[in-house]
Amino acid sequence: MEDGRMRVKCNFSGDQKFLENGRCVSKLESMGFRVGQGLIERFTKDTPRFKDELDVMKFICKDFWTSVFKKQIDNLRTNHQGIYVLQDNKFRLLTHLSAGKQYLEHAPKFLAFTCGLVRGALSNLGVKSIVTAEVSVMPACKFQVMIQKM
């Protein structure tokens, strides 16, 4: 991959796989970002301006999630200081994968795009953020949104 960094050749295919996995995940996240930006423009073209940050997050949890995944976020929690946790108990991209711990190590690949989606949507609404996801028991997963004060 031509990215200006020196590529260290390892004999351990496990290491290479790990590096490539990380690159794939960040690539997926950036793709999701661009898609999220586009989607939010289309979904909000007829809606009025949002009152505050919490209103934006509620829109993401209800309308945005419904348009993309045909269901709403099941639980939204916040510390009112810029951290939001969106919990989806039956995340559509994981339901057919497993109903517990099997394939858990592969779950991040399926969450990366959605993290980017949320980050892109928020970005075009004027909210800068960092979005991460965690899974402990599939198909439930949590997306953590950390608002960056500019």
Binding site: S98, A99, G100, Q102
Partner: protein, 165 residues
């Protein structure tokens, strides 16, 4: 693991016409003859050979029977091989257009199982194996979700009853 709920014994008593019927085991083969999945529920007698040999034997039999039937059929073939029965059990067969073969051994009283096998294929195999990007098609099925859903499905069949040991 699938759980036999407390309502199960009552249901069995209600469905008198299905009393004593059961499903013995299920095989799933792919187009190349490898056995993707095998489960058993009520098998009283083993084959006496290793599992690998058993799968080869089963697949070989299916292959031969299908070719025999198509050659010797006195009329134009429609569905081909459906089932065979012995004095103790009945073997039901269903093959998908993609070459996935499902074989179900049941009690004698069970009528045509083709719909059941078709349902197993479309609601379980396609949903939980084909739609799972981490399942490599052609290899033996690893998904726990598939196994547990299959188990619940079979146990919920009207002609399934757990015989007292």
């Amino acid at each position: 693991m699938a759980c036999v709920s407390a309502a199960e014994p009552e249901r069995q008593q209600k469905i008198r016409s299905w009393m004593g019927m059961t499903v013995h085991n299920l095989y799933i083969f792919d187009r190349n003859g490898s056995c993707l999945h095998y489960s058993e529920w009520n098998r009283k007698k083993q084959a006496g050979i290793s599992k690998e040999e058993e799968f080869k034997l089963m697949y070989g039999m299916l292959f031969s029977i299908r070719s025999f039937i198509s050659k010797m059929s006195p009329l134009d073939m429609k569905d081909g091989f459906l089932a065979f029965q012995t004095s103790r059990y009945k073997l039901h067969y269903y093959e998908t257009p993609t070459g996935i073969k499902l074989v179900l051994n049941t009690d004698l009283g069970v009528p045509n199982c083709r719909d059941t096998l078709q349902q197993i294929y479309s609601t379980l195999y396609v949903e939980y194996i084909v739609k799972n990007p981490l399942c490599v098609l052609g290899e033996s099925l690893q998904s726990d979700l598939f196994s547990s859903k299959l188990d619940s499905f079979i146990r919920a069949l009207p002609f399934f009853s757990v015989r007292a040991a």
